[in-house]
């Protein structure tokens, strides 16, 4: 790294996490440059969610450091956490609140003034097409709506870095387009987006950088062009991960 280049938006150094006998993340290093739209792809069980949990303060790493714009997240959470916006995957939300209340809750936790919370809440509900259900309990939401409301909670305090685990999962195409536009605007004005996904086409379409993760390590990273090397991202991915499963035809599944 050149000495005059600014600190990366998110720097993961030697991250390691073990669950019993399974090593989920195995000394992972990754620098995410400021202003990039970074995609993290990998097969199921590659350690994407574990890595992002450690990068956002949700899971204590066994070893390694996480630097958010140069600030150590695990040593100085007071300074690092306010700059992060987080959308985890597979966790619950406080679903006995309404969508509007959940956004207000997130805003108030972040220490915003009530008047500002109200303004941003209404903007977010409108932008994510949740106007009609803002007064409904989150428990009554569909999976995609829950994803969108959680995204709104990640955005409400205007963070510098967004870390999103599978932000487009279960989201319909119209909403996906709206979310994409919001995130691309955010990155264009200097914000950083880190998202995980296993949909290659989506990553190719929205991200400018990509890292391929497998067995808890980074297998390839860089700009989209560097990583795909002229190939289709999916081919490159399969080439790196290896088509591990033995091909066995399920003849009994054939209808005729």
């Amino acid at each position: 790294m050149a000495p005059d280049s600014p600190a990366p938006a998110l720097a993961l150094r030697g991250l390691r996490k073990r669950f019993g006998a399974t090593i989920a993340v195995d000394g992972l290093d990754l620098d995410i440059p400021s202003g990039s739209f970074y995609g993290i792809v990998g097969p199921n069980g590659a350690g994407k969610t574990t890595t992002l949990s450690m990068a956002t303060g949700l899971l204590t790493p066994d070893a390694g450091t996480v630097l958010v714009h140069g600030i150590d997240l695990w040593k100085e959470p007071d300074r690092a956490k306010p700059t992060l916006g987080v959308l985890p995957d597979g966790l619950r939300t406080f679903d006995r609140l309404t969508g509007a209340e959940l956004i207000s809750y997130a805003g108030l936790l972040r220490g915003l003034a009530p008047a500002m919370v109200e303004e941003r809440r209404d903007d977010l509900l409108a932008a994510l097409d949740l106007d009609a259900v803002g007064r409904t309990l989150v428990a009554d939401y569909s999976a995609g709506m829950t994803k969108k409301i959680a995204l709104a909670c990640a955005l409400v305090h205007a963070p510098r870095v967004l870390v999103l685990d599978e932000p487009f999962e279960a989201v319909d195409p119209v909403s996906a387009k709206a979310i994409r536009r919001i995130l691309q605007d955010f990155a264009a004005t200097g914000g950083t987006v880190v998202m995980s996904s296993h949909v290659m086409a989506l990553v190719e379409r929205v991200c400018d950088h990509v890292a391929i993760v497998g067995h808890g390590r980074v297998l390839a990273y860089g700009t989209l062009e560097e990583v795909s090397g002229g190939l289709d991202l999916e081919e490159r991915f399969v080439g790196l991960i290896g088509d591990t499963s033995e091909r066995r035809d399920l003849t009994w599944l054939r209808q005729s």
Partner: protein
């Protein structure tokens, strides 16, 4: 299919025991304790043998009624009921009730409590030995039928309670249950006061036992009594009727299993529009400007208040802390009367129960607590907000209970001592719970789950947390109740010292331990989500 279901059950248990060796200790301890009760049962059986058939029949009718009532009520009140074979878990497999019912039926009888009570009932049946082997055979039929009624009633009561609580009408249902309870309890209590306990024991209880013989609970006992007097026809139809009753119970349970199989837990329902109460609360406090707590703490408190009054898991907790004082003031006190010391102890006990019940508070958020964790170093605000939400209903409740106790006992001079002890115990027990909730969280039923179920594997960790938190709560709570004891015993004026001491200790311990819990929350924040997941 029976074998498959049973194998599933025992494999799950085996894996559980392998993962948490503690559960073996709990299991063995329970078995030893149960076995230690058997000699006294044997002795009771021998004592009954000496009685005439009439007394024996009455005694066994009463025992059947109490045991069945216990099996209906206890599984609903305690959490941690074995739900390995919760029919809801089969709902994605597309099995018909017809194919899993036989397996489920066999498995509910293959539990330790079921085995223990079968032995107890068989021992009691032996008391009919003097009446000949034919009567003894009918007595064993009584044991088998009563046992089946117990085990099946437990299933039916748990299934229906959780079905009601899972519905959107949970709050209304809880209110109706409390009202009905009060409606039944109050006239009984006043009848007792009016007629006196002796009259009740001599006239009403025998009448009740006689009536019991015509209910499904007493029918098998009546059959044995009939057999003892040689009325075989009467014995036969009674046995047949109670067999029909068991089939009916089984049918009701089966209907519920069938319902659960096609109605997996779904938390949605009518979309009810609400205004943003969280923001409204924040705005009110901003307008108030009176030593405004941090907005984060406010937000956590309003969120927790919402959960207290809408989530069945919290509602059932709210109702269960009130059961004992409500029973005491409406039933026990009017009937039996009580010394002043007991009456004024009840609100103090209520305060302690409320406090201790929060010892796993954090885990009730389940993984939703990620939002609190990623939002900054908010441990102190989060813990204070939670405590504030509990105090919002607990303080009025213990105040009313304290006033009621002082009024009933007619000892207004004890007021300072009483409220000192209440404040001390509420504060210290909530403080201990706040620390335990962060230090030793264990899996709680997830939102929308049956509030009476415990996640598989929670018994071990939960056991440790419960033992540690209750012992610590006792240790810190006992000293603040001493002035109350002294005030009753010697001089009510000591109560003023108690009031100062209780308020100071309660508030002091609560503030300090909440702060400590908050700091621990921050330190453990990277492990909390996994601890409660």
């Amino acid at each position: 299919m029976v074998a498959t279901v049973l194998r599933l059950r025992f494999t799950t248990t085996k894996h559980q025991l392998q993962r948490e060796w503690w559960r073996v200790l709990v299991l063995v301890g329970g078995a030893v304790w149960a076995a230690s009760l058997l000699p006294s049962t044997w002795w009771a059986s021998r004592a009954l043998e000496q009685q005439n058939a009439g007394v024996r029949g009455d005694a066994l009718a009463a025992i059947s009624a109490i045991l069945i009532l216990g099996w209906v009520v206890v599984p609903v009140l305690i959490t941690g009921l074995d739900d390995t074979l919760d029919p809801g878990r089969f709902s994605s497999l597309g099995v018909a009730p017809r194919s899993i019912m036989p397996g489920l039926t066999v498995s509910i009888f293959l539990t330790l409590p079921s085995a223990f009570f079968l032995i107890v009932l068989a021992m009691l049946a032996m008391s009919w030995r003097p009446d000949g082997s034919a009567t003894l055979a009918v007595a064993f039929a009584w044991a088998a039928l009563t046992h089946a009624t117990m085990v099946l009633s437990a299933r039916v009561s748990v299934a229906w309670t959780s079905r009601v609580l899972q519905s959107r009408r949970a709050r209304e249902a809880a209110l109706v249950a409390i009202l009905l309870g009060a409606l039944v309890a109050t006239p009984v209590a006043y009848a007792v006061v009016a007629e006196g306990l002796d009259t009740i024991l001599n006239i009403d209880v025998p009448a009740l036992l006689e009536a019991l013989r015509w209910t499904p609970i007493g029918l098998p006992v009546a059959a044995v009594s009939a057999a003892a007097t040689g009325e075989w026809w009467s014995a036969t139809w009674r046995l047949a009727a109670s067999l029909a009753w068991i089939l009916l119970l089984h049918g009701v349970w089966r209907a519920n299993v069938a319902y659960t199989l096609v109605h997996p837990t779904y938390r949605g329902g009518g979309a009810r529009a609400r205004d943003d109460a969280i923001l409204a609360a924040a705005k009110r406090s901003e307008a108030g400007r009176l030593r405004r707590p941090g907005s984060a703490q406010r937000a956590v408190a309003s969120r927790a208040r919402r959960y207290w009054f809408t989530d069945p898991r919290y509602l059932s907790g709210l109702v269960s802390v009130m059961v004992f004082p409500a029973l005491f003031f409406t039933l026990v006190y009017p009937i039996f009367g009580s010394p002043v010391a007991v009456v004024v102890a009840v609100p103090v006990l209520l305060a302690g129960t409320i406090g201790w019940a929060r010892h796993n508070d954090v885990a009730f958020d389940s993984t939703a607590l990620w939002l609190d964790v990623v939002s900054g170093r908010l441990g102190r605000e989060v813990m204070r907000g939670r405590v504030a939400a509990t105090l919002a209903w607990a303080v009025p409740l213990v105040t009313v209970a304290g006033l009621a106790a002082l009024g009933l006992a007619g000892r207004w001079d004890l007021a300072p001592a009483e409220f000192g002890a209440i404040a001390g115990v509420l504060g210290t027990s909530l403080g201990v719970s706040a620390m335990s909730a962060v230090a030793l969280p264990y899996r709680a039923p997830a939102p929308g789950e049956n509030p009476f179920s415990a996640e598989v594997g929670s018994v071990g960790a939960g056991f440790l947390a419960q033992v540690v938190s209750s012992i610590s709560a006792w240790i810190v709570a006992v000293p603040v109740t001493l002035p109350l004891v002294a005030a009753i015993r010697w001089d009510a004026r000591i109560g003023w010292l108690g009031l100062v001491l209780g308020l100071a200790t309660g508030v002091g311990v609560l503030v300090v331990s909440t702060r400590w819990a908050g700091r621990l929350y921050d330190r453990k924040s990277g492990r909390l989500v996994t601890a409660v997941a």
